[in-house]
């Protein structure tokens, strides 16, 4: 039987056997504090978002969100245990309590927010679904894909958008659906499929890091059409709003820090700033940490150890990384993008 069934069975066992206690605010948070470690569900391996190196050290934009939450709770961004999950395992793992937080390129949707028993805390990356094809096929637009064989990961919004897009454009396709992302990429690069579809960020990451020799990055093009909105963000279980608040504001703190020019390099000087907004953000003027139920220096710890949103973006997926993805929609709202954080006050 597959991993999925085992994960699902474990999840069911947790739901069937777990004590049916009443929900009260702070229950998840108490458990995390008692454990001394945040357990974070991440993806199996997508360069720039979540990838473990040869020493088992995880890096990526999703990983930085986990680190920021740990920095807020413990004052130490390294107090995180990472659990890699496939697209099919992730929801059962979160439902059953195997992980505290899911930060693995999960698209925010109504069903997931409600029927699955989750709460989304924000959008860490505004994405959209795209198509990658070998250049030699000579395809210039997604509208020319009638009759194509498409490689896609199961149990994703991608799989549903794909079917919707072809139906809406009166085209047909044949899916090849494999759970493990390495296998599905392998099927695409070996020519089993004409097209590989996933979120555009994933396509860029795959093209930058996974093309097998003798093929090169030049042999594949990403078609211009973006067929869906894919707001990706961290997810928690429904029930502990205090923990959800910490996850939500940890991300907002990273965005606020970028907006006010606080970086991991200048954060110590910024502590001496006279700007009342910066004083409030960094906890020089106390109150915010207490309201959230964490240390007053929570934002200082996040920025010092993880960096602001712009730093995390550049380091992992932006111009400072092999992926070289432009900020685009993920630019700050002050610079024409969508990343906007409510004020910390």
């Amino acid at each position: 039987m597959s991993n999925k069934i085992m994960a699902a069975t474990a999840g069911i066992a947790a739901i069937v056997l777990g004590a049916a206690g009443t929900a009260h605010a702070g229950k998840e948070l108490d458990a995390i504090k008692a454990r001394g470690q945040l357990i974070c569900g991440v993806g199996i391996g997508t360069a720039g978002f979540n990838l473990a190196d040869s020493q088992g050290k995880w890096t990526g934009l999703n990983v930085d969100i986990c680190r920021a939450v740990a920095a807020a709770i413990f004052g130490d961004a390294d107090k995180v245990k990472y659990v890699p999950l496939t697209s099919q395992q992730r929801f059962t793992a979160l439902q059953s309590g195997e992980v505290d937080l899911l930060s693995n390129n999960t698209t925010v949707t109504l069903t997931r927010d409600t029927a699955l028993g989750f709460d989304f805390t924000g959008v860490t990356y505004y994405d959209g679904q795209g198509f990658m094809v070998p250049k030699k096929l000579g395809v210039k637009s997604a509208k020319e894909l009638n009759g194509a064989t498409v490689c896609v990961a199961p149990g994703t919004t991608t799989e549903l958008n794909l079917a919707d897009y072809f139906r809406a454009n009166k085209m047909t396709f044949k899916p090849v659906v494999i759970e493990k992302v390495d296998e599905i990429r392998g099927a695409f690069f070996s020519g089993r499929c004409d097209v590989y579809t996933t979120d555009a960020s994933g396509l860029y990451a795959t093209r930058a890091a996974n093309v097998p020799a003798p093929l090169t990055i030049e042999d594949f093009i990403i078609l211009p059409e973006i067929i869906s909105k894919e707001p990706l963000g961290p997810v928690v279980r429904h029930g502990d709003s205090q923990f959800a608040d910490i996850v939500r504001w940890a991300q907002f703190a990273m965005i606020e820090a970028e907006e006010y020019g606080i970086t991991s390099k200048n954060v110590d000087e910024m502590m001496k700033s006279d700007n009342p907004v910066i004083k409030r953000i960094l906890g020089v003027t106390p109150g915010m940490g207490k309201a959230l139920g964490v240390d007053e220096k929570w934002v200082y710890n996040i920025v010092k150890q993880v960096g602001n949103y712009g730093e995390a973006f550049d380091r992992n997926v932006g111009m400072g990384s092999p992926l070289k993805i432009a900020r685009g929609q993920n630019e700050l709202w002050t610079k024409g993008g969508l990343q906007y954080a409510p004020p910390i006050r």
Binding site: S2, T9, T114, G117, L145, E159, D164, E183
Partner: protein, 396 residues
């Protein structure tokens, strides 16, 4: 009362907790109560936990639109179909690979088992090496190997290998071949086939009765085969032999028309058959070796030909040893087919997995998948037990 007491020892008055009858009842009531209590606790706890976590429950989702496409279907299916239909497509795909796997691995396994007993040194060694190679490597690795072989070794559809004057096309998209155009007469040919099979059975029974009564043999097997093939053929000819074919042709990205055997299906079937036939070979070998040498010598002394002695004397006895362990192998094929998920064949597990993910209702879906595998496995067991009883030694 005196009459009733005759022949039985008079009951000694004992305390109720020492009375074995009362004690037996009490223990049984306690056990039943505990089991019922545990079941009640698990069910109510599950419902409460689901409600607390605000996770949806119930089977309503089965009627909703599935929204995802499936690459290999035996019945018509589109993303607009319901989850129930998507799961049904998965069940049929699992059954297809299981049924073909059972038939092919039985044939291949029997040949290998007999081959390993052959006096020919080379043949027997080849069969031995085959068995050792296939049963000692995990099935999943064989599946990966065959899938990689097909998708890496064969060319893309535009460079497809064509054979038989452009009617067969082999590429990494699968094997495309022509099929007859859909025609209303096909339904009647199916009816004729069923009638033919029934006729052949009746003929075989009559031939056996006549042989038992008069000793005269009748070639019932070849005659039966003639009826089974001949009747549909006659119907087809009577309808004016409609022979329009749907031919595969390259159009755009891929071939259209004809029909296709897809690489995922091929890799899974080949993997299952080659792996399981190694076990079947050993079962067949053990069945034949279990027979005393005197059986074949006695058959020869009676003047039976080699084929007759195999069919009438040796095989019926060997089958009694072979059938029970074969049941386990058939069940294994069905259950192992769930490894399809690793190479992307859309079987029952695949359909259920996607449904779990889109609806979040793991408990209901796991119940469905367990019910499906359980009914298939119990059907196989029931059939094999019936067959085993039929061929069992009847002592006279």
């Amino acid at each position: 009362m005196a009459v009733a007491a005759v022949g039985s020892t008079p009951r000694v008055k004992v305390a109720p907790w020492n009375d074995p009858v009362i004690r037996g009842w009490v223990f049984q009531i306690i056990v039943v109560g505990l089991v019922a209590g545990l079941a009640w606790y698990l069910v109510s706890n599950t419902i409460e936990n689901l409600a607390r976590q605000k996770i949806a429950s119930g089977f309503d989702y089965l009627g909703r639109e599935a929204g995802f496409e499936i690459g290999d279907t035996m019945i018509s299916y589109s993303p607009a179909s319901t989850y129930a239909r998507a799961i049904w497509v998965g069940i049929l795909n699992t059954l297809r690979v299981a049924v073909l796997g059972v038939i092919l691995s039985t044939i291949l396994g029997t040949l290998l088992g007999v081959g390993r007993l052959s006096p020919n040194w080379l043949l027997s060694k080849i069969c031995e090496w085959y068995v050792e190679a296939f049963r000692n490597v995990p099935l999943l690795l064989w599946l990966f190997l065959f899938y990689k072989l097909i998708s890496e070794a064969f060319p893309g559809p535009r460079q497809a290998i064509s054979a038989l004057w452009g009617s067969l096309f082999l590429s990494n998209r699968g094997l495309y071949f022509p099929v007859p155009m859909a025609d209303p007469i096909h339904k009647w040919m199916g009816v004729a086939l069923l009638v033919g099979i029934a006729g052949a059975v009746v003929l075989h029974r009559w031939a056996r009765k006549r042989q038992e009564a008069t000793g005269q043999p009748f070639p019932s097997i070849s005659a039966g085969l003639g009826i089974v093939i001949g009747l549909p053929l006659l119907v087809w000819l009577a309808a004016g032999a409609p022979s329009a074919m749907s031919w595969p042709a390259l159009k755009g990205f891929n071939f259209e028309g004809g029909t296709v055997i897809q690489p995922e299906f091929t890799a899974l079937l080949v993997g299952l058959v080659l792996y399981t036939s190694a076990f079947v070979a050993e079962i067949v070998r053990s069945g034949i070796l279990a027979l005393h040498k005197g059986q074949s010598e006695a058959a020869a002394a009676l003047g039976l030909s080699r084929g007759q002695s195999m069919r009438l004397v040796l095989l019926p006895q060997a089958l009694r040893v072979i059938v029970p362990p074969m049941t386990s192998q058939y069940l294994n094929i069905t259950k192992n087919s769930s490894l399809a998920i690793a190479i992307g064949y859309p079987d029952l597990v695949a359909s259920i997995n996607v449904t779990i993910n889109q609806t979040g209702q793991a408990i209901e879906n796991i119940l469905l998948i367990m019910a499906a595998y359980l009914s298939v496995s119990l059907s196989i067991s029931a059939f094999m037990n019936w067959y085993n009883k039929r061929i069992a030694l009847t002592e006279r």
